[in-house]
Each structure stands twice: as structure tokens, then as C-alpha cells.
Subunit: 123 residues, 2 copies
Amino acid sequence: MTQIYHQSPPVGQEISCVMKGIESSLLKNNSQLKKILLKALKECNFKILKLVSHNFTPHGFTIMALLSESHAAIHSYPEYSALYFSLYSCRGPKDAEKTFKIIKKKLNPKKIIFLKNDSVLLK
Amino acid sequence: MTQIYHQSPPVGQEISCVMKGIESSLLKNNSQLKKILLKALKECNFKILKLVSHNFTPHGFTIMALLSESHAAIHSYPEYSALYFSLYSCRGPKDAEKTFKIIKKKLNPKKIIFLKNDSVLLK
């Protein structure tokens, strides 16, 4: 008897970074930030299973997507003109690159500080 | 006139890691993994604003906590005896250390591979 079990690829990728110098009106536009994230995930064929977000007072926004392929998160810090972006995918190596590039293009930050951009070995 | 605005601390911390060699029955016990995460966050006075989780078939579990202080995430990969843990806090430097240590003690992994354990400069 053949038994087939689900098995994640042994290598994934995590990118996390702080993007700085994003235009203030964009950084305070929470619904626009949400749209940008969802569109980028869709373009890269990520499957969103659950989505949560929170608008902080007086500003600041968090959105997290629970994916079939792991997760994505954004936190905005308008007081520092900064946005934290994180994507962890267990779909394979280099898998988070395209999504990151799409989001970078839309947000057009002046500077990006990578906290992590590397492969994730699971096995 | 004095106007007081919310401002996050300019430095936070992100810890993300893969813990390997966790005891199989614990790694497949999704409700127990959830309890461990929530208890650790509570002990460290993180405020959970929203919580989402998903039980994968035939195994695998994701839980994400949207915090006042940013976010935490766990993904389990029983097929690799592995668990991914990530905590990003903008409450201050070294802020994620205690929570990480509590979770590590409860899961008792044989090996930990740090993907990221560093300060996050926002300003």
C-alpha cells in the first residue's frame, strides 16, 4: 500500500526588512498598503487562508496574512517614515524574491535595511 | 500647545529561528503549541490584539499573533521534526529574548538554527 503524506520542501526563504523614506501619504494610507500586499501575494500565487489587520491610533498599521505557504506581515511606522515587511515561504528557495520586488516597486522607499534575506533549511 | 503623538521606540528586536528535534507528539499537538505561545507572550506582557491559526492536513500548524508590539508566528513541520518561531517586537532592544527562552524551554529542541536575532533600527 502506498501512503502519500504532505511534505513541505526542505528549503524555504525568509525576507524581512525595514523600508525607509516612503512617501508619507502612502505610508498613512492603510487600505492602500493592504491592497499592495494582497496584490503582490496574488501575483505570486500565494494562497491566503486568513487575514488580520489592525489600525493603530493615531497612526500605524499592521497586516498579517496566514498563507498555505507560511506567512507575510507588514507594520507601518509613519513616525519614522518606515515600514517593516516580512515574508516567510516554505514553497522553495528564492521564493520570496518576486513578492518583495513587487512591493518595493510600489512603495518606492529611499533605503532598505535587510534584517534577513536567506534560505531556510527545514530538513 | 503641547501635542503628544504616539511614537514607537526607535529600536526593536526580531528573533526568527528553526527549532529541530522536537519530540514528535508535542510537535503534532496543535492546541498545546498554541498554549505554549500564548502563555509565553502573556508572561512577557505582550498584548494580543488578534489571533489566527490553521491546522494543515495531514499535519502542520500555523499560528500568528498580532500584537500591540508587532507580531509573533509559529509554523510546525512534523515531517522534519521542525518548528519555525518568529517574534518581532518594536517595544525596545532585546525585547524578544525572554519570550524566545520560555518557548525554547517548553519545546526542548535538540538544535536551533537562528535565521535572525538582532536589533531593528526604525529611525
